[in-house]
């Protein structure tokens, strides 16, 4: 029997992975071949998707990008033996994009069957929890603190300190909330883990629950991710059946299309059944979170990284990275880029290495003009800032942020005034309405940018936008209003020539 691995990741399905699976199944049975198809997550090399792999005595051999129409020629070329074919890539681990990575959080993604607990265990799963139970609750918190792990959702708060706070707060009930409301454009790391290695989330949350004394956890997944919701629910059902969740109860909650619910307090409101409005802090969720109880709210990547930290030791993780950014970051290279995909690496690569080197420049073949890092609230960086290392502090030092690790590449056809306008428009659409600068300022900001675009009192209106951004930055409770100035002001600062041109090409068309 030969096993052929085909990703079931939504990114691979979006470009035809299901059609490829059907065609391979039909073709194999037509030829009477003993072939089993295994649906996995994605390796994250999206320009090669659908990328299939076949198990051979020499290891797995990859082919891609495969279309349904290739099934016949692939089997003619003896796919089941790893035979030569124009689409044959070779061993996946030899592909430079994969070879250069340090996969810790994504070690299993794209390799294992996400529905198989046995596969998970065979690839090192549940070693972290076993170690946690050995070293005890204070030992776990100590290890997570020593690893230097910081919140991968974007805020970068030290995970160990958050856990310690919850552990030390007495209460009748405590909660672990996994934030999988991955709304930033250019990011899909949470989605890939849920679809490719969901048990790592379950294990990470179980460890967190053990460490702080919580017996119930919620995974809040955005509704735009139906595949991830299915995959996570299936994995929880398997874990329950196999007795892995006897002491820790896990439940998936589905968002409803609100970006601001990715903010931790809005997310808690949403789980409680209310409008996703941001809460003022203090009290911190660690003291008074979900249903008024001490709550750990962590990003999904943070939680999925914990098992590996415990299994292989905090020192091993902390040895990677630069400055105060320890360990690895799954960088998601997206947008107008030749080699788009997920690249997990220690902190410290420069933006230029990521975009030009790993990403290979634009998909359109035109010059890279701007890169937005960290989602819709992240700054637009010009080529002049390509020496910035991927590191929380280095990006902050240049009025930007790394956020959840999304890198969106734009070529020279981008109109930065339109991008600045969009940032404010998006803030207006998604504002929860609690803070006036965000709710009203965003709308006034769009109007003011429109005047600048129309060439109406350019300098006075630019000064007004800057003033408005100051108000947004300092007068908003959360990052939506507080960080919308990043894309707006960076666009103005680095691409002033785009503001106040008499007419936009798109408007003229």
């Amino acid at each position: 029997m030969t096993r052929i691995f085909i990703p079931q990741d939504a990114g691979a399905r979006a470009v035809g992975a299901d059609r490829v699976a059907d065609a391979l199944r039909v073709e194999a049975s037509r030829r009477g071949l003993d072939v089993t198809l295994v649906r996995t997550g994605s390796r994250g090399l999206f320009w090669l998707e659908p990328m299939i792999e076949v198990e051979t005595p020499a290891g797995r051999i990859a082919y891609g990008p495969v279309t349904a129409g290739d099934a016949a020629t692939l089997f003619e070329a003896r796919l089941e033996e790893g035979g030569a074919h124009p689409l044959r890539i070779g061993k996946p681990d030899d592909i430079p994009f994969l070879k250069q990575q340090t996969r810790i959080t994504f070690a299993r993604c794209g390799i294992v069957d996400p529905t198989s607990l046995d596969d998970y265990r065979a690839h090192g799963g549940y070693r972290g929890l076993a170690r946690a139970l050995q070293i005890g609750q204070p030992g776990v918190i100590e290890a997570v603190t020593a690893s230097g792990l910081r919140g991968r959702g974007g805020a970068g708060f030290p995970t160990g300190i958050k856990w310690k706070t919850v552990a030390e707060t007495a209460a009748d009930r405590k909660f672990i909330v996994c934030n999988a409301d991955e709304g930033d454009s250019g990011t899909y790391a949470d989605r890939m883990i849920m679809e490719g290695d969901p048990f790592s989330v379950i294990e990470g949350m179980t460890i967190a629950g053990y460490a702080v004394g919580a017996t119930r956890g919620y995974i809040y997944i955005r509704s735009e991710y139906p595949d991830a919701i299915r995959s996570m629910e299936k994995a929880i059902a398997v874990a329950v059946n196999r007795g892995c969740l006897d002491d820790f109860c896990l439940e998936v909650r589905v968002g409803a299309g609100s970006y601001v619910c990715g903010e931790e307090t809005a997310l808690l409101e949403s789980i409680e059944g209310r409008r996703g409005q941001v809460r003022a802090k203090p009290p911190l969720p660690a003291h008074k979170g979900l249903f008024g109880r001490p709550t750990v709210v962590n990003n999904l990547v943070t939680l999925a990284t914990v098992p590996a930290i415990l299994a292989d030791g905090a020192e091993h993780y902390a040895a990677l990275g630069m400055g105060r950014s320890r360990g690895t970051m799954p960088i998601q290279i997206a947008g107008n880029v030749r080699h788009g995909g997920l690249f997990e690496a220690p902190f410290g690569l420069t933006l230029g290495e990521i975009v030009d080197g790993i990403g290979g420049g634009t998909a359109s073949g035109r010059p890279v003009r701007a890169v937005q890092v960290g989602g819709p609230l992240g700054a637009y960086f010009p080529r002049a800032l390509f020496d910035t290392p991927f590191d929380y502090e280095a990006f902050a030092g240049r009025d930007g942020l790394i956020g959840h690790g999304g890198v969106v590449v734009f070529d020279d056809s981008v109109d930065m005034a339109r991008q600045a306008r969009f940032a404010l428009e998006f803030c207006g659409i998604e504002s929860c309405g609690k803070c006036t600068p965000c709710r009203i300022g965003a709308v006034r900001g769009v109007e003011t940018i429109d005047r600048i675009i129309a060439g109406d009192r350019r300098d006075a209106n630019l000064a007004l936008v800057e003033d408005l951004c100051q108000t947004l930055k300092f007068g908003s409770l959360c990052a939506l209003g507080g960080f919308t100035p990043y894309p707006v002001m960076s666009a103005i600062a680095h691409f002033p020539e785009d503001f106040g041109r008499p007419k936009l090409p798109a408007a003229a068309a």
Partner: protein, 153 residues
């Protein structure tokens, strides 16, 4: 269409659940295609909330529809990664092709087109979702496939 007995049954399934409002609204929409105005007092009563509170939640979240949608729902991504691949002009072409604006439903009730801000398919931009199925690397040809898929035979 809204049916009170069926609605009550959905609400009953969530009895005793903490923070049950969003799960109930999702189930109501999955069953009826939208959250009917008639359902609001029923849900409010079951959860011991005011009608205003339930209305506030329904109207806050972009997902909840307050009227029936078309038979098919196409979500087109308008976020930055898709913008970088000229998704906006493609989206406009799709809207024009079906003669609707954002959020609109075709006259024959066959298709509703909605804007979405990121489907997590950002390395396969421009992206869309048709009836929950992801579609990436949208271009003129894939749009035509999509049109064939949704047009009544």
């Amino acid at each position: 269409m809204w049916n009170e007995a069926q609605g009550q049954e959905i609400i009953r399934r969530h009895a005793g659940r903490e923070g049950a409002l969003l799960p109930i609204l999702h189930d109501l929409q999955a069953t009826f295609g939208y959250v009917a105005a008639e359902s609001i007092p029923v849900v409010a009563d079951a959860l011991n909330l005011s009608r205003a509170e339930v209305h506030g939640v329904v109207s806050f979240y972009h997902d909840f529809r307050r009227e029936p949608s078309g038979r098919h729902i196409l979500k087109l991504c308008r976020a930055e990664a898709c913008q970088s691949m000229d998704g906006e002009s493609l989206a406009q072409a799709v809207l024009d092709r079906f003669g609707v604006t954002w959020g609109g439903t075709t006259a024959d009730g066959n298709l509703t087109i909605e804007a979405t801000y990121c489907l997590g398919l950002c390395s396969c931009s421009p992206a869309a979702m048709l009836d929950g199925q992801p579609i990436g690397r949208l271009n003129g040809a894939t749009v035509e496939n999509l049109v064939r898929e949704v047009e009544p035979q």
